[in-house]
């Protein structure tokens, strides 16, 4: 019975991981930027939710648009006017650059929101659906549902809209994209904006289930990282799968081998997937092949 509960926990957790990972993966696949500031951006979303909840009593779920929109704009500006200036430099320069942004954002948050751990606890927190011995907290269920929904919407957006197709084309070949009249600078910015907006939403949801502080940015980024690798870069469905796998691996390894080996096992599995199938489980031919 415990094992069932543990598996379920893993899947629910996985929904959140998928949401934090999907934007990261998208940015990586399309712009070839590993955005180390992703976690920090997610935390900005968490602070927005906290702020609205504390001062205006806005329900955390209702605050999602309020964290999406400003961070979407923030992401757009960041890519358009900063990252685009250097996208053609060596890939690792970009890595360092996003790390610089992370340091900046984390310290910014520490200065303005303090290093305190915060958490958003609405009245209905802690209510659970109980089926026999199995407990399903409503909040986690809702978070999971929202994560799945958003991921699916994103998938639709990428496959059905002109902008979505342009994003796909740009991720395959920037030069060729320019030849057909796509402005990659704009596409990059939109991609980054979407990713940031979704990170913000993920952060908002995060604030409901966990305590957060600026210092947690790194570990969120690491999760996003693993999700992208597992699922395959730039692949929305991949992120969903990767997230759920990560969730299950974490809870299951914690149960079977012990909490203290959880990270080691998760990372070992990530390395294994890398070695066996570097494009990730759902990686598609020609996408996100190592670009230099």
């Amino acid at each position: 019975m415990i094992i069932l509960q543990v598996l379920l926990n893993g899947i629910l957790l996985g929904g959140f991981y998928a949401l934090i990972g999907v934007g990261f993966s998208l940015v990586w696949g399309v712009t070839n930027i590993i955005n180390l500031a992703h976690g920090a951006i997610a935390l900005l979303g968490a602070y927005i939710t906290l702020f609205l909840f504390q001062y205006y009593g806005v329900d955390p779920f209702l605050s999602l648009p309020f964290s999406f929109i400003p961070l979407f704009i923030f992401g757009y500006i960041l890519q358009r006017y900063l990252l685009n200036l250097v996208v053609k430099a060596q890939i690792f320069m970009l890595l360092i650059l996003t790390f610089g942004i992370e340091i900046f954002l984390v310290n910014f948050m520490t200065t303005f929101f303090s290093a305190d751990f915060r958490s958003v606890t609405p009245d209905y927190a802690g209510e659970s659906l109980i089926i026999g011995d199995i407990v399903i907290p409503y909040i986690r269920l809702a978070v999971f549902a929202i994560c799945i929904l958003i991921t699916l919407l994103l998938s639709l957006f990428l496959n059905k809209t002109w902008t979505g197709k342009a994003i796909k084309a740009t991720s395959l070949d920037i030069d060729a994209a320019m030849m057909v009249g796509i402005n990659p600078a704009k596409i990059f910015a939109i991609t980054f904006a979407i990713a940031s907006g979704l990170a913000g939403v993920a952060g908002s949801l995060f604030s409901l289930t966990q305590a957060f502080s600026p210092s947690m940015a790194g570990s969120l980024t690491l999760r996003a990282f693993i999700v992208s690798i597992l699922g395959g870069l730039g692949r929305v469905e991949g992120a969903l799968l990767g997230g759920i796998i990560l969730g299950i691996v974490e809870t299951l390894s914690s149960y079977i081998i012990g909490e203290s080996y959880k990270n080691a096992i998760t990372l070992a599995i990530m390395v294994l997937v890398l070695v066996i199938k570097p494009t990730g489980i759902l990686g598609k031919k020609y996408f996100a092949e190592v670009k230099h």
Binding site: K165, A169, D175, A177, M179
Partner: protein, 234 residues
């Protein structure tokens, strides 16, 4: 009034100047060939025309509009398309998706245009659900041309479209280019097969180390002794 004109163009990469005072014009409905040995700067000129390279000085006029240093997407929108060297198709997208995205700046009438492209290039229709990257070299070149046509360009720039292709395929592609031209599209053609280029074009320019040195009627150039010696190897 000129359909397309390049005036005293200077440009290059970083500090390095490649093109010097290049001037050239294309009239509506013409095929113009651009010849020159390797590294003369032909591809560079094409890149400059479509806005991929900053122009240092000089200007480019298209349909009475100054398009100097416009961004590539605006130039594509105005109706200039480029089939770049080495094809550059989207390997991870199907043939159909490749064509669709070719219409990014001309979304109306996409269906009809795709029909038209398929009728010019029937081979693409047969492979419409295959990934671009899985096509053979010749098919990829057809796809590159087809994709450019989806933008309904008035001026089509084609860079070395026969490179590394089997003679049968070259033959087919030459016919395709002629057909496209007959449908009203003006073409600027860069080609190493000087014979073929001069045969299908109306006029031609010869570029040497970044400068235009010879220009004139293609048929006449075929007989030009200088051309014969240095480009036709006779």
């Amino acid at each position: 009034m000129k359909f397309f004109e390049v005036r005293n163009l200077n440009t290059g990469y970083g500090d390095l100047q490649i093109l010097r005072n290049v001037s050239l014009e294309i009239n509506k409905g013409e095929i113009v060939a651009l010849l020159g040995s390797n590294g003369a700067g032909k591809s560079t000129l094409m890149r400059a025309i479509v806005g991929r390279l900053r122009i240092w000085s000089g200007e480019i006029i298209f349909n009475e509009q100054n398009i100097t240093n416009l961004s590539p997407d605006k130039i594509v929108k105005l109706g200039i398309s480029l089939c770049p060297e080495r094809r550059r198709i989207f390997s991870g997208m199907t043939v159909k998706e490749n064509l669709e995205i070719g219409a990014y700046q001309r979304r109306n009438g996409l269906k009809e245009r795709m029909e038209k492209v398929f009728s010019i290039l029937p081979r693409l229709y047969e492979r419409k659900n295959h990934l671009g990257g899985d096509l053979s070299g010749g098919e990829q070149q057809m796809l590159a041309i087809g994709r450019a046509l989806m933008n309904e360009p008035e001026l089509l720039l084609i860079d070395e479209f026969t490179l590394g292709l089997a003679p049968t395929i070259v033959e087919i592609l030459v016919d395709v280019v002629k057909k496209i031209n007959e449908s009203g599209v003006s073409i600027l053609l860069v080609e190493q097969d000087v014979h073929m280029a001069l045969e299908i074009s109306n006029r031609a320019y010869v570029m040497e180390v970044g400068e235009i040195t010879i220009s004139g009627n293609s048929k006449e150039l075929l007989e030009n002794p200088q051309i014969k010696e240095s480009y036709l190897g006779m």
